[in-house]
């Protein structure tokens, strides 16, 4: 490795362009590094503090605000939905109660009508029964009378056939007595 230095390359680089010792420790270059470092740092600082950081913090704040608002809105909507559900349930209950009431009313009405009709029917049946009984009584009375007449006639004819004579009065008395027995 050549070790002679040239004025052009500086004291830290040999003629072949290789470093002599550590380039990090070359005092000739340090002012240059420090100067450009400071320039860069100041530039970064101004870009950051003037433009980038306020912008990013504003964006982050806006985002967290938006998220908070959205969550609040979602909460509100959820409450509304719960309210709507409760109202729906209430309406359903009301409707059911109403329906039951109507059903009960209808039943009562029908029952009342039925009762009236039944009573009417009963009365009619009773009237008809009474009429029939009267008719039957008449028929029965008629029948008894006919039987008596037939019995008198038969008795008179029997007595005549036997060769006896009997007046009507005796026969009637005898028939009546028999029919009672």
């Amino acid at each position: 490795m050549a070790t002679e230095t040239t004025d052009v390359a500086g004291v830290c680089v040999d003629a072949g362009g290789s470093a002599l010792g550590m380039p990090q420790l070359c005092a000739d270059w340090m002012p240059n590094q420090i100067f450009w470092l400071l320039v860069t740092l100041i530039a970064i600082y101004f870009v950051m503090s003037r433009i980038a950081l306020p912008r990013i913090s504003a964006v982050l704040a806006e985002r967290s605000g938006t998220i908070t608002n959205d969550i609040a809105a979602a909460e509100e909507l959820k409450n509304k939905a719960a309210e709507a559900e409760a109202a729906y349930d209430q309406a359903l209950l009301d409707a059911r109660a109403e329906a039951q009431k109507i059903v009960a009313e209808a039943k009562a009405e029908i029952q009342a009508d039925l009762d009236v009709e039944l009573q009417k029917a009963d009365a009619q049946i009773a009237a008809k029964t009474a009429e029939s009984e009267a008719a039957i009584g008449e028929i029965r009375a008629g029948a008894v009378k006919s039987v008596t007449a037939v019995a008198k006639d038969t008795a008179k004819e029997l007595v005549a056939a036997m060769g006896g004579t009997a007046d009507a009065k005796t026969i009637t008395a005898a028939v009546t007595a028999r029919m009672k027995g």
Binding site: P23, N32, Q33, L37, V59
Partner: protein
């Protein structure tokens, strides 16, 4: 970067850290535009792209780029808040600046043929000592002489207190050194090891192993780049907390 010379391999793993003027071949003055300048500007451009272009839409539902910016913002914001407390949030832009510069420089340096500004001791020393002086001055401004209470363990046994105070003072002054060398050392070592493996890859016999080694070290470096940016930032927060609340 290896070359066959007189039958032996010659590595120049540190050549990647040479500062070269971008235009011409002259000496490097403090204002010269160099390869280091280029990569710092690229880092700045990348930061602007992610944080300014990415958040241009100010969308409530973020785009991918915007959510990357928001993730980094939230990550550092929470770190500052957790470590330093609410009153540390005033210094959040400074800490964000440090973190972004280190993070983007580290990751951009993983691009082949790129230059890694954070591997330079001068760069990390300015970062580390900047934090050190800022925190020390802030501590005295905020707390006055009470800031020295940081070194006085009032709950330790009385005999031990002076000894602990000496140790605390030494450790306080070592902070910026370890703070800056940790970062530069990690990045420099990783890149140098990658270069050494790349040199071995030129030998037919060992090249499969060397290439596997490059892949493995590269994967490790991807971790190290993120972790070092995180470590630098969280240590800055811890030092800042000491300045704001020096009582143990």
């Amino acid at each position: 970067m290896a070359e066959e010379k007189e039958g032996g391999l010659v590595f120049h793993p540190l050549d990647q850290f040479i500062v070269k003027p971008l235009f011409g071949d002259g000496p490097v003055h403090w204002y010269t535009v160099t390869n280091l300048t280029v990569w710092m500007v690229i880092a700045l451009a990348a930061i602007v792209a992610v944080f300014v272009m990415g958040s241009r839409g100010r969308a409530v539902i973020p785009t991918r780029l915007q959510s990357i910016g928001e993730l980094i913002y939230g990550f550092i914001y929470k770190m500052v808040e957790d470590v330093c407390g609410k009153d540390g949030l005033r210094y959040f832009p400074y800490i964000m600046t440090l973190f972004l510069f280190i993070l983007f420089s580290n990751y951009l340096a993983l691009i082949p043929m790129s230059y890694s500004p954070t591997s330079m001791i001068a760069v990390t020393a300015i970062l580390g000592f900047g934090v050190f002086f800022a925190v020390t001055i802030l501590g005295f401004v905020k707390n006055g002489p009470a800031f020295l209470g940081l070194f006085w363990m009032s709950d330790a046994p009385a005999i031990l207190r002076p000894i602990i105070a000496v140790i605390e003072v030494i450790s306080y002054f070592v902070r910026p050194v370890s703070h800056s060398i940790r970062l530069a050392g990690n990045i420099m070592a990783g890149h140098a090891v990658l270069k050494v493996f790349a040199g071995f890859a030129a030998l037919t016999l060992v090249s499969p192993v060397a290439i596997f080694g490059i892949v493995a070290i590269y994967g490790l470096e991807v971790l190290v780049c993120g972790i070092q940016a995180y470590v630098f930032t969280i240590l800055t927060c811890v030092y800042l907390k000491d300045a704001l609340h020096p009582a143990h």
